[in-house]
């Protein structure tokens, strides 16, 4: 096969990242928003692992990095859900449109 | 890393740092005094502001007056960022060095002393402040740190940091303690100076990433000694890079194989762009003719003690920056634009004088008078010779003292009469003989009476300008008639004639009279014996001669 696997993995990762980004930018439900962000993180992780195998000097460092990244993703998901719950308790909605506390009064 | 061999390192290594940070001591003490103890706050602030004077005096006394080089130099690596860049196919380590560098030479030394002096005198004048003393004095001391820093900074980043450090306290000082339209004045101050700072910042970054370039190591044989490309913000190095023909030749040789010789060596048009950027940036501060309106508001709205500092020192930062950065980096551009600078100077001079003549408000009159006097500084710069530059520096000092004295008087007058309008005042000699006499002295100094400091600077600027622009000099000389006209109109309308306000008033108290007398003493000292300043100044300008000369070749 003449196919360059690194390029292939990177392309997959780019597509997934773009889909995640689109979701993050358009979805109104905050849970979906969180899911989209997870997707973007996953795309990045895929990059790291791909380089870990096909990079100029392959090593395990890329995988290590992925593991840390997953750990942080987990933390992020937990905090995200917590914020969502707190928000829901106040506004009784999970609609991102109605999150406009940052606006200048 | 370049050649700094011309600097002398003194036995007291951190004297300038101590000088610049000395107001911090006052801030610390003030922080622990309850804000209700007004008297104690005032006393502490005044005493704290005397400390910089002492240190500045010590620096002055220990300054080697026969050497024009930077003295009391302190230089440390502040931040350093490394990365690798490819020149051609060769990876070369790059390093960006931001320095913490302080130093004084004959040009900055008088300004440093002036700053310490005027700041302390402004503290005396601040006894007339009526509210929120604690914050006020802390802000004043922060302002003083910034000003001292600007005049001693020897690296562009540090210069910029201190330059900005003066902005914020000034904003609050105008906005909280000013008169009726204080907020508008503060906003305008911030918008304009912010704009100037943005331009300055842009210019500084541009200069650091281009002209700040030097290289060490062996460029021919990389294996023996890895070459490292440095970017520095150290002012002498940059000035050297831009103007020392040897340095330029070396850099060209090094960069040529990589095809980069145009990237780092500034092209003529780039130099022009930078020069104009700096001119505008400092011109706003100075202020130069079309950019002057913001300072009118500041002059008429801010409390007198703040205007003392503003008019006395902050404006000089623009002039000093233009001299230290603009003219020393781009002498050829300065040379070629001299005619325009001179025209700008004359416009400033006459425009300010005409406008001042039409004012009814003493503060506005003095504001326009400042614009007019800043014209003289521009004329000195436009002269492009040693005596012209000296005239400009003398004018900075002289105007600093005179306007500080004037606003001190304005503050005292306003305190007693509640107005500074010329049509409401008159015959003050009767009720306030001391203040009136001082006002007359300040006026005479302002209109350039020999024996007082204003004359020396005007004379030198005119002599300098005459070399290349005799016609403009003749026009500028006519400006001194206009100056006399508006100064006399202002001063005499207040002090002469029938007494307009008949309420009984007390003449200046000791705490007011003292700074007035001190400022007058310095005005007279410089007027009678200008060599106190001209000695070191002359030496320092000689140090500049190596590029002054090469730009003046044939002239």
């Amino acid at each position: 096969m003449t196919i360059n696997m690194l390029t292939a993995f990177l392309t997959v990762s780019a597509i997934l990242f773009s889909i995640g980004m689109f979701g993050a930018l358009t979805k109104r439900n905050m849970i979906v928003l969180l899911l989209s962000i997870e997707l973007m993180l996953n795309a990045v992780n895929l990059n790291l692992v791909a380089f870990s195998k096909y990079g100029m000097t392959p090593s395990l460092h890329g995988q290590m990095f992925t593991l840390f990244s997953i750990a942080i993703a987990a933390a992020e998901a937990a905090v995200g859900i917590a914020i969502l719950l707190a928000f829901y308790r106040q506004r009784v909605t999970v609609n991102a449109d109605e999150m406009n506390e940052l606006r200048e009064p | 890393m370049g050649d700094f061999g011309q600097m002398t390192f003194e036995s007291m290594p951190h004297l300038l740092t101590a000088l610049v940070l000395s107001p911090l001591l006052g801030i610390l003490i003030l922080a622990f005094i309850p804000s209700s103890m007004g008297q104690w706050l005032k006393r502490t602030a005044i005493i704290a502001s005397l400390l910089p004077i002492l240190i500045a005096g010590y620096v002055y006394a220990n300054f080697n007056h026969n050497a024009g080089v930077m003295q009391f130099v302190e230089k440390f690596e502040w931040t350093s960022i490394s990365w690798t860049n490819f020149y051609g196919s060769q990876p070369i380590p790059n390093e960006l060095h931001l320095q913490y560098a302080l130093g004084v030479d004959g040009i900055s030394l008088p300004l440093v002393f002036l700053t310490a002096l005027v700041a302390a005198m402004a503290m005396f004048a601040s006894v007339l402040i009526k509210k929120r003393w604690k914050l006020y004095f802390i802000l004043m001391l922060i302002l003083e740190i910034g000003m001292l820093g600007v005049f001693t900074a020897q690296s562009l980043t540090l210069f910029f940091v201190f330059f900005e450090l003066t902005l914020i306290p000034m904003f609050f000082l105008i906005g909280i303690w000013g008169l009726m339209h204080r907020e508008k004045a503060a906003n305008q101050f911030l918008i304009f100076n912010g704009l100037g700072s943005a331009i300055l910042f842009f210019g500084i970054i541009w200069i650091i990433t281009t002209a700040g370039f030097t290289v060490t190591g062996n460029t021919m044989d990389i294996s023996a000694d890895q070459p490292v490309a440095h970017f520095t913000d150290f002012i002498p190095t940059i000035a050297d890079n831009l103007n020392n023909t040897d340095t330029i030749a070396n850099a060209t040789e090094w960069l040529k194989p990589y095809g980069l010789d145009t990237t780092y060596l500034l092209s003529n048009s780039t130099k022009w762009t930078l020069f104009i950027l700096l001119l505008v940036a400092f011109g706003i501060k100075l202020p130069m003719f079309p950019f002057h309106t913001w300072m009118l508001r500041v002059h008429s709205e801010a409390p007198a003690s703040v205007v003392m500092i503003h008019s006395g020192i902050l404006l000089k930062m623009g002039a000093y920056g233009l001299l230290r950065i603009g003219l020393s980096f781009f002498p050829e551009q300065a040379q070629e634009s001299a005619t325009w600078l001179a025209i700008l100077g004359v416009v400033n001079l006459l425009y300010g004088a005409f406008c001042a003549f039409a004012q009814d408000e003493l503060r506005s009159l003095l504001a326009y008078s400042s614009i007019s006097h800043m014209g003289i500084i521009l004329l000195g710069f436009a002269a492009n010779n040693t005596i012209g530059y000296s005239g400009a520096v003398f004018q900075m000092i002289s105007h600093g003292l005179i306007s500080a004295l004037f606003f001190m008087l304005v503050g005292s007058l306003y305190e007693r009469t509640g107005t500074t309008s010329l049509s409401d005042l008159g015959g003050m000699s009767k009720s306030l003989p001391f203040i009136s006499a001082m006002m007359l002295v300040a006026g005479l100094a302002s209109l350039g009476l020999p024996g007082l400091s204003g004359f020396v600077s005007e004379l030198m600027a005119f002599i300098g300008l005459f070399e290349n622009h005799p016609t403009l000099t003749y026009i500028a000389v006519l400006g001194i008639i206009l100056t006399a006209a508006y100064v006399l109109r202002g001063v005499m309308n207040i002090t002469y004639g029938k007494l307009a306000i008949s309420t009984k008033m007390a003449d200046a108290q000791l705490v007011e009279a003292f700074p007035m007398v001190v400022l007058t003493a310095f005005i007279i000292l410089i007027g009678v014996y200008p060599s106190v300043l001209s000695g070191p100044l002359d030496q320092s300008l000689h140090e500049w001669a190596h590029w002054l000369n090469h730009t003046q070749a044939g002239g």
Partner: protein, 630 residues
């Protein structure tokens, strides 16, 4: 070398000391400030006299000391120092003597003023500055003291600061002389860059002219610019307007500053830089014409004034014009300086006499005086001597000096000779009118005039004696004074034509005055009615003030107002526009900050895309990748 000249710095030092003492002590010396200053002036006069006596030694060298570097920048080295030569030794004597007498007189004249200590400190400062002008060794030093003298004049004219007229007069005095000063400054600048080594001392200028280092264009321009300075200070046409107004100051000041010393500084300046003028015929002609015109111009105005001091002021302007003309028409400065020297005594005498009169009757209008000779014997006699001296009646001092000028004019500029003769006639006429109106006839207003105290009359007597004898040092045929002053013997043969002509003219003027005002054979009122338009023009000083008002002051005010308006609306408007734009953009962009994070993120992504596109388009990134790829 133990000469007195090397101690010449003592001469100005005494008045400076007096100034500092009185200024510092303030009210403490309100009473004794005057006597202190008089004593110091006497000391100063003694030193000046010793120097003058020493200068009489034939063949004595000029003494120059200029070791004090005042300012050194680059190749400019401005020194302060002093030079003693015959010319300024003479001036030292005149200044110290008149100043001493005037201060003595002032003790009496100002006795009732509350701020007399201030007055004396100003006079001391003035004396110091004037001596500085006289002793200056280079042009910049001269300019420094020149300006100081001007400011002292300003302070003293405006001494009674509550009077509106005094305020206006002081302002005018300062501004009008400043116009002249700018000329002087410009001349100095011109010379500074054209002189070899930027030297500005008089000896170097003299040498440079002799060596041909200065082009004739530069010499003419510089000479005329310096002359503009002299015009301003000496009240020559067209900058004469300040001098009559300056009479608002106390009368001793008018005597000292506006008659004897400061206004003569212009003449002295021309004499001091005479080398420049001699080298340029154009400049000489200018000086002569301006001088001659001023002489006759001011004399005619003097005919139609009623204020005693103003008449004397116009007389001063006229006489200064005479001096200028004397400098302009001759080849040495002897004639002009000789007249300056005699004029200093008799004009000071006249002013002090006028002061004595004013002191007695408390008015300055001559129509309200009359018959004072009965009450004020000393004043009358001394005033009469002054009048005769000024009118140029032999053998009084004024005759000899005026004769010398007329002689020079007669030889070199016949037209100006005629002009000068006419001016001399008018001088005699208005002086006799003044004298007879004030001292003879009946008192026109009830008053109780009394003779002034001795402290005032003694200076009058001394000056009167000097007005008689001062001229004898330079009699025609044995012109010792001219020779001593200039170092060259006068070459022209004495001619009796101008001498006789001027005597006739003077006597004629006095007699006409006498028949109108002393023993009225004709009514002056009739003449006045006949020539009413002429009289009105003269009385209004040819409307010069009004002309300046209309052509300079009004346009200036308008221009200032216009520029101010321009600044307020156009420049500040532009600034407000910037402010408005900033606010507008701020408001627009604030709308995008609606608190919705997704919008923020969208903008962020969009920006990222643009940045990435730019980087890729510019090839910056690709280059790095390409390098690292290989």
């Amino acid at each position: 070398m133990g000469t007195y000249s090397q101690y010449a710095w003592l001469v100005p030092l005494f008045p400076l000391l007096g100034f500092i003492i009185v200024l510092a002590a303030g009210r403490l010396v309100q009473r004794i400030g005057g006597p202190i200053n008089v004593l110091l002036s006497i000391a100063s006069f003694v030193v000046a006299a010793l120097i003058g006596w020493e200068r009489l030694t034939p063949g004595i060298e000029n003494y120059v000391w200029n070791d004090w570097t005042w300012l050194k920048i680059g190749d400019f080295n401005i020194t302060l120092g002093f030079e003693i030569n015959n010319l300024n030794a003479l001036m030292l004597l005149i200044v110290t003597l008149v100043s001493m007498l005037v201060q003595l007189y002032s003790i009496g004249y100002m006795a009732e003023d509350d701020r007399k200590h201030v007055f004396f400190s100003y006079i001391a400062l003035f004396t110091f500055s004037m001596l500085g002008v006289v002793m200056s060794e280079n042009l910049i030093e001269l300019y420094i003291f020149w300006e100081l003298v001007g400011v002292c004049s300003f302070l003293l004219v405006g001494f009674w600061y509550e009077k509106l007229e005094a305020k206006k007069a002081a302002q005018k005095a300062f501004l009008v002389t400043r116009v002249g000063d700018t000329g002087l400054l410009a001349g100095i600048l011109l010379l500074a860059w054209n002189m070899p080594g930027h030297a500005l001392d008089f000896n170097s200028i003299f040498n440079a002219i002799n060596a041909g280092d200065l082009s004739s264009g530069v010499i003419t321009t510089a000479a005329i610019l310096i002359f503009i300075g002299a015009v301003g200070k000496s009240g020559q046409f067209p900058l004469h307007t300040w001098l009559p107004d300056a009479m608002e100051g106390p009368t001793p000041i008018s005597a000292l500053i506006h008659a004897a010393t400061m206004v003569a500084a212009g003449v002295y300046l021309v004499a001091r830089s005479f080398d420049l003028f001699v080298a340029s015929p154009t400049a000489m002609l200018t000086v002569a014409i301006i001088g001659g015109f001023t002489a006759i111009f001011a004399a005619t105005i003097g005919l139609a004034q009623y204020d005693i001091k103003r008449i004397l002021a116009y007389s001063t302007v006229s006489q200064l014009g005479y001096m200028m003309m004397g400098l302009g028409v001759s080849t040495t400065f002897a004639a002009g300086m000789f007249h300056l020297y005699t004029h200093a005594f008799f004009k000071a005498l006249l002013f002090l006499g006028a002061g004595s009169v004013i002191h007695a009757v408390h008015t300055q209008d001559i129509r309200e005086m009359g018959g004072l000779s009965k009450h004020m014997k000393i004043t009358t006699w001394t005033f009469a001597i002054g009048t005769l001296a000024l009118s140029g009646v032999p053998p009084f001092a004024g005759f000899w000096s005026k004769d010398l000028i007329l002689l020079e004019a007669y030889h070199h500029q016949p037209v100006l000779f005629v002009v000068a003769l006419v001016a001399a006639f008018f001088t005699a006429l208005y002086m006799s009118r003044l004298f007879f109106l004030v001292f003879t006839g009946k008192a026109r207003k009830p008053a109780h005039p009394h003779e002034s105290p001795a402290v005032m009359t003694i200076p009058l007597i001394i000056l009167a004696i000097l007005s008689v004898v001062a001229g004898f040092v330079n009699l025609p045929g044995s012109e010792k004074f001219s020779e001593w002053l200039t170092g060259v013997a006068p070459e022209e043969a004495t001619s009796y034509v101008p001498m006789i002509a001027s005597t006739i003219v003077a006597l004629l003027g006095i007699s006409i005055g006498a028949v109108f005002y002393w023993r009225p054979k004709f009514s002056a009122e009739n003449v006045k009615k006949t020539f009413l338009p002429v009289f009105t023009v003269l009385n209004n000083k040819y409307y010069i003030d009004e002309l300046y008002q209309k052509t300079i002051q009004v346009p200036y005010d308008l221009l200032a107002a216009f520029i101010d308006t321009f600044d307020k609306y156009v420049v500040q408007g532009a600034v407000s526009l910037i402010q408005y734009i900033v606010n507008f953009v701020g408001n627009i962009t604030a709308k995008t900050q609606n608190g919705q994070l997704q919008n923020y993120a969208l903008v962020l992504v969009f920006g990222l895309i643009i940045l990435a596109a730019v980087v890729i388009w510019m090839g910056g990134g690709a280059e790095v990748w390409a390098i690292s790829g290989k």
